[in-house]
Amino acid sequence: MRRIHIVAALALAAMPLQLFAQGTLSTQGFGYPTGELSSRARATGGALGQFDPDSPLNPAAIGTSVDPRMYLQYEPELRRLSANGETSNAVIARFSLASLSVPFASRGSVGVSAATFLDRSAETSFSRQQSIDRQDVTVTETTRTLGAINDVRVAVGYAASQKVQLGFGGHVFVGQNRMFFTQSFPDQPAFTPISQVSTLGFTGFAASAGVLLRPSSILGFALTARQGFGIDAKAGDSTVSQADIPDRYSAAISYGGIPGTSISAQVSRDNWSSLNGLGSADAIAVDGWEGGLGIEALGPRIAARQTVLRLGGRYRALPFLAGGSEVDELSLGGGLGAQFFRNRATFDLSVERASRSPELSTVDASERAYIFSFGLRVRP
């Protein structure tokens, strides 16, 4: 077995690997971090994420669930990339989050969730001149990358008292990236198009712990930490690269002193740089901060149903450099929630406008995106 590994390593080293970026600001490296936020939390700029049982961030949050609950989320993104005076419009369809939790004893819940951690879906096509056999030829290269790394979490939450909730989670990061690469030439049949397909599979692990503190009826605090362990990228049976799942530390506060209203804020630190080495030397991940502020308030009654309105904003650094520059994202959004079927089903929707821009002005590119999020929560 050891010999096979050595041979595989030598073969890989001998191959002139050609490496790719994905052509956008947000999907560099292994892709865009969705944030693992539910529609409700996303509408509040992520500020409610630490308190939200549907967002797989703080395992303590599921301790408040007294009923079994199931949650599904669909999250399309309409993205507009501008660079070099040109514009590309993209539509990305994501089913970004699904979760299930059931209570146990009288104070605890156990839950399982699957969320998109890094989404690498992108496609680029451009033409360039290439010298082949002393002849200048126009080559059109198309790269289509599909797939994501997903975070599958099993969590236990427990309410030790009315003021303290604890939770622990075990994470498995799995997924697949499939890359379709073609090179085509206008001069047929002299030149033959190239088509290559490569598939990467990922397996990584992490553990998380969280606590929710409610010192008073109007104030809540949340603290969460995720410790990342190793992650492998494999092509077939061969391990192509290894790195670590990023550690994450976050804190949040919620204030409910205004009747019918909750104001929340969160801050977190993601050590994305631990992913360096999983990709090529060109895929550079950097640690980054994230902060969000949001408000959730009772809205008008529509069709005899009580609605909840949400507003929020979020600012964060994206994990991977684009053109050598860090990329920041500012999101402003809002949303609506309402209950149906005798309050056993809840439908949340949010709309978020995200602006992404490189910190270095030398990178002439910017991105605007509208992220629609639809969440359906059911309590059977």
Partner: protein
């Protein structure tokens, strides 16, 4: 409150529409290139190798009568080709239309017409041509070229028909004397066609293999116009025990004198009788198995052919040989082929110099085959094989290094790992 409700419904409608629109992914982000897409397709390397291990000129072995058209050419000492049409059953009786089942012996044959379709493309047509129609019926086997050619005598001449150049458009009609039919009732009529003109003549008559029903012999057996004309298409009833061969021999080209071919040490493609070239390759395995070939060119050095039609164009197509190692005779291996490249080499026989034929698609096929079972070989065939005297000649692997066939391969060094 009603105003708010209305706005919320409108917003809901907009969001729902956006969500439904977003169900279809469109991922194009090409505007980000090349700034956000560095280092993409890798380099293209080019190597030129002496990969030909065996090359040989072999006979086309296309089988008598299988040609798509019948070459009729009279070109002095260079070429003499004639056409043979067989009507192996001339009916001796006919029936009137209606319920009358009694057959009547044929006693008259009026308006005997031989209709043929001609193709003058690539031909040599003087101001007028004359087609001499001979009775060439004999018991000589069809492969006995000289014996059949000897039947084209004045005594066997049935008729002659002269056509102006402008009249040779698609279909021609030749009127035969009644005696040509009446003398062959209940027997067979075998017609030989020879062309002549003020200068060299060369044209083609479409054969049964090349068109639907190109040739029809028809005549009237009764003055009664309700009795339909008898229409006969070429038919051979011999050899009796080989129906497929008999089908082919319904019409065929009788090549009395073929074109001169090039030196045995060269590669000769085309000509009459037709020749093709078999080439076997030994290519480094990494070029087949480990890289993506962008371009593969077979470099050939042409030798000028001083024969006929030096400035006409001959098209040469590369076929892949499908013969396995069980076929040891290259002449037979050269017959087991499949078209695998869209490229065609166009040359004039009289020219010379380096020529390039693209065969990358054939290399792609070889990736899927086991070289131990199926040798990597191609067969170069004239697109007008068997129908044209044009012959292109090339240096073989026995020539000087700069003249022998070589393979120039451009390949991509890119190997995708899928890593960003």
């Amino acid at each position: 409150m009603q105003l708010i409700s209305g706005r919320l419904k409108l917003a809901g409608l907009v969001i729902l529409t956006a969500a439904l629109t977003a169900c279809t992914e469109k991922l194009d982000s090409s505007a980000g290139c090349p700034i956000l897409c560095p280092g993409r397709g890798g380099e293209i390397e080019t190597v030129t190798i002496d990969a030909v291990t065996l090359d040989s000129t072999v006979s086309a072995l296309t089988g008598q009568g299988t040609e798509a058209s019948l070459l009729v050419a009279t070109r002095g000492d260079s070429l003499d080709a004639r056409a043979i049409l067989r009507f192996d059953s001339i009916p001796g009786r006919y029936r009137r239309p209606g319920a009358d089942t009694i057959s009547i012996p044929v006693t008259t044959a009026d308006s005997v017409i031989l209709r043929m379709r001609v193709d003058t493309v690539g031909g040599k047509i003087p101001s007028s041509i004359t087609l001499d129609i001979y009775d060439v019926d004999s018991n000589a086997p069809d492969s006995a070229i000289n014996e059949i050619a000897a039947l084209f005598t004045p005594g066997r001449l049935i008729t002659s028909a002269t056509f102006a150049k402008a009249a040779l458009k698609d279909t021609i009609l030749v009127t035969l004397p009644s005696a040509a039919i009446l003398s062959r009732l209940d027997r067979r009529l075998r017609i030989g066609i020879r062309a002549r003109g003020p200068q060299s003549v060369q044209l083609r008559i479409l054969s049964q293999e090349g068109a639907g029903i190109p040739t029809v012999l028809s005549y009237r057996v009764s003055a009664d116009t309700t009795v339909a004309r008898v229409s006969l298409t070429p038919e051979s009833r011999t050899p009796v025990d080989q129906p497929a061969l008999a089908l082919s021999l319904a019409d065929y080209t009788l090549l009395v004198r073929g074109t001169a071919t090039g030196p045995a040490t060269g590669l000769n493609i085309g000509g009459l009788p037709a020749r093709r070239v078999y080439m076997r390759f030994d290519i480094p395995s990494f070029l087949i198995d480990s890289v993506d070939v962008v371009r593969a060119s077979l470099l050939l050095t042409q030798i000028s052919n001083p024969g006929i039609d030096q400035t006409d164009t001959v098209r040469i197509a590369p076929f892949v040989s499908l013969a396995t190692t069980a076929v040891v005779d290259v002449a037979k291996a050269a017959q087991i082929t499949a078209l695998a490249s869209r490229d065609t080499l166009r040359v004039t026989p009289g020219s010379s110099g380096e020529r390039r034929l693209e065969i990358a698609s054939i290399l792609s096929l070889w990736r899927a085959t086991n070289v131990a079972e199926t040798p990597r070989a191609i067969v170069l065939i004239s697109a007008q094989e068997g129908n044209s005297p044009l012959e292109a000649r090339f240096h073989s692997a026995e020539a000087a290094p700069e003249l022998r066939p070589r393979l120039r391969i451009s390949y991509s060094t890119r190997k995708s790992s899928g890593l960003p």
